[in-house]
Amino acid sequence: MSELKQKADFLENLLKERAVEKYAFSLRESEKQELNTEGDTFKLMRTVFGGGAGVTVYQAGRKGSASGNDLSEEGLAALTESALAAAESAPEDPAHDIAPDQGKHAFTQGAVEADFDRFFDRLEEMQTDIAAEYPSVHVMEMVADHTAGRTIYRNSNGTCAESVSGWYDVTVEFSAGDGEKNTGLEYAFQRLDSLDGKLIDLGDFRRKFEAIQRQIDPAPLSGKFEGTAVFTPGCLLDFIGMTLDNYAGGGVILDGTSQWLDKVGEKVADERITIGFDPFDPRIVCGERLTGDGYLSEPVNVIENGVLKAHMLGLYAANKTGRPVLKNDGSDLIMKPGAESLETILAGIEKGLLIGGFSGGHPGANGEFSGVAKNSFLIEHGRVTRAVTETMINGNLGEMLQHVRGISKETDDSGLFSLPYLAVDGIVISGK
């Protein structure tokens, strides 16, 4: 029996001895090996022996949680007492609950064993590829790691799940310059479970390296116009996150401030829009298997063909509002691609902006957003003409989904999400 299982047995017995009515807990052990470069030099190697435990208890409708990383018997006992103390002082609220018995499961995903020599080789190859193919790109830092871990989850309803997973992450922080002028910072990220291919060919690396090279000499935009914004997949990730959070998240449904409060089953977006979460999609590396409430994760669409299918409610918010729970914690975002190429979409735009990143305040509950368009290009008469700087965009998250001009067939598959380019009309674009 593994040591982690013994600790889980110990903790479960402890909770039973303390006559806890309902409980859920997870124990985790992990190891991360991380390489950090500075420029083209491997500068820091980091090993993190990790681990932790989280316990949630429910006594007479009172919920308390505690977490820590002391997995000794004394540490787990202290954690249990801490959770009980938190519950004791909480108000009674029957909406707090855990998922019904989901059975016993064992999950193994990804690259559990690291091939670190090969990873080193792939990273050195990537450095060489960048230098050869994108000479203006200056890699400020590359952070590359392999993480593997084992998690045990159990609850008092009988659910028992053990998950073993491992993956590689590569994050590149870079700019571009010609000796006199430098661009701003750009980032690219990829999660992978196989080292079979060249890293530079994965995800959005090449597109971002190409784009930053064309950003070296941007010019400010003059004046203001209402035009079409084409969001790159990485930028779209932020906008979809903000939109779902603002209109479909548990907080805004619970407090009643969502503008999609009573819109389930109604059209909230262009019929080409389908957005959901699919932990089993083959493009996702080590997808979610269990939600925080203890449900087995399921593929779900929040918006399907423009129609709002569900709010993103955890069990508490679902019980509190009498609405259905979403059996997914909002990981593994997938947006259905379109039928047109990006080139075709761009060709139909009279005036607009291709937006590589967004630096803006989190929109208020009304969905109004404004911020700086980063790493962006002006689109004029169907062509991407020049890089711009000091350019702001303004719009409304909800309206954006209704004013869709096109969705690309190309996607960025980062291992964490799969998203296309999205072109929307009616965005206010302003320069100095």
């Binding site: 820091l44 505690a66 700086v372």
Partner: protein, 461 residues
């Protein structure tokens, strides 16, 4: 509080390596009341030990989620193995930074732990007060959050010490319905550095601040969209602090300077009007404790103030030991790590633009057509100094008088251009300390500033 069980392991430090051993605990307490419902009620402790070993400009780091002499020995060994492994792949090697004077920095304060029951009671009492006093709110939430660091640092050739950094806040968030039926919101963070009893035994002291928050949200229900464009504005103190941190602070972090930041070629040059002096304070401001005091960093450098801009001239960067050597500057204690498993990075501490001689009233009276931007929601900047701040609270200024409130908007600019337009600075500084700065790791930071009159790009319909 951590007991010092790692000191004996310093005997394992090896000659020829620059070594730092750190015992480290983070605590977190969190209670959330959303419209009266307790939606979060949690406590966490994460404790461990880490070692960083440097040789020839390369570094090995290792950490273990266990605080014991055995774990300390294990991470020292693993960190040494890592730097030796790295040495086999290294393309360049550089001399390690010179040794610093060794001394022991004394413990700055104890961390006092409040029972969760008291935290919930205080949060509940404040929620009851808000619900009863302001029945016309569409929604409200009370968020208690407390985080603390407890660190024991031993460096082979620098300072050592046992330091703590507790802070706790209650965020009061209010949402009202605007005239067009859409919700508008604002929040206020109450509290600061210290523990529960330092701030929350007398909740009534916060009623005026809560009333002020309510009035601002109410103003916002009649809010208008800002007119997009390049405008003359008065930045409030919180916006001044955001400017100090985001627009300038990040560009003068030496690792970003090495990455091509605009500050690189501007050292010693004018980057702001002569009304602007910017300092990253270590632990003391104007004779009193800075909002989040830092006495010793995680490389064993005793913390001092870092003067970044003096009378408009860029005078220095924020450094770790290695970049200080590279740029010929003195390390001032900016290498900070958030958790036991984190390596130290160059981070800000209490970054502040110094006050001037005008009053806020004089600044507002001097603007014919512009905006008074009071409070920020968040901010970002990049290597070029191009920045943006989300503006959560602001007012129009017409003919020297405040007008209607603004709906959420964003301002942007290029730091070293925008700072040259600062032509009036108020005589008081406003600080905030509740935020985290994100840069691979999170880290608590303080930021402060006066009100400033300047020109800036503002977004709007």
């Amino acid at each position: 509080m951590l007991n010092d069980i790692i000191k004996p392991q310093t005997a394992l430090f090896e000659d020829g390596f620059q070594t730092v051993l750190r015992g480290h605990e983070n605590r977190n307490r969190r209670v959330v009341l959303l419209k009266g419902n307790l939606t979060a009620n949690s406590r966490s402790e994460a404790r461990g030990v880490s070692a960083r070993v440097g040789k020839d400009g390369l570094y090995g780091f290792a950490s273990a989620a266990e605080y014991s002499p055995e774990a300390a020995a294990r991470v020292l060994k693993a960190a040494r193995s890592n730097v030796l492994l790295l040495d086999r792949h290294a393309k360049t090697r550089t001399p390690m930074p010179p040794a610093l004077a060794q001394e022991t920095v004394p413990l700055n304060r104890e961390i006092a732990d409040a029972e969760q029951k008291r935290i919930i009671e205080a949060s509940r009492a404040l929620d009851d007060y808000v619900a009863k006093t302001y029945p016309d709110l569409l929604s409200r939430s009370i968020v208690y959050t407390e985080d603390s660091q407890d660190r024991i640092v031993y460096a082979s050739d620098a300072c050592s010490g046992h330091l703590t950094s507790p802070r706790c806040y209650i965020y009061v968030m209010m949402t009202m319905q605007a005239e067009d039926g859409t919700p508008v919101e604002l929040f206020k963070a109450l509290g600061g550095a210290g523990c529960f009893d330092d701030h929350f035994t007398d909740l009534a002291q916060y009623y005026p601040a809560i009333e002020n928050l309510y009035q601002k949200v109410k103003d916002k229900t009649h809010g208008i969209h800002a007119e997009a464009g390049y405008k003359q504005v008065v930045l409030g103190g919180m916006m001044g602090g955001m400017l100090a941190h985001e627009a300038v602070g990040h560009t003068v972090e030496a690792d970003l300077v090495m990455g091509g930041s605009v500050a690189g070629p501007n050292l010693g040059k004018r980057v702001a009007s002569d009304l602007v002096t910017l300092i990253d304070f270590a632990h003391t401001y104007n004779g009193s404790p800075a909002p989040l005091p830092v006495f010793l960093d995680d490389e064993g450098v005793k913390a001092e103030d870092a003067v970044l801009i003096k009378d408009g001239i860029l005078t220095g960067y924020m450094n770790n030991r290695e970049t200080a050597q590279r740029f010929g500057q003195k390390p001032a204690g900016n290498a900070r790590a958030w958790a036991f498993s984190d390596e130290p990075l160059i981070r800000m501490r209490n970054t502040c633009i110094l006050p001037g001689s005008n009053t806020l009233e004089e600044l507002i009276a001097s603007v014919d057509d512009g905006y008074y931007l009071v409070d920020s929601r968040n901010g970002q900047a990049d290597l070029t100094g191009e920045f943006m701040f989300g503006v959560a609270c602001g007012y129009e200024i017409k003919h020297g008088k405040l007008g209607r409130a603004l709906l959420d908007t964003t301002v942007s600019g290029v730091a070293f251009d925008m700072l040259k337009t600062v032509d009036m600075v108020s005589d008081t500084v406003e600080w905030s300390s509740s935020g985290f700065c994100g840069k691979k790791q999170m880290i608590p930071v303080g930021m402060g500033g006066p009100c400033m009159r300047c020109h800036i790009m503002i977004g709007g319909r």
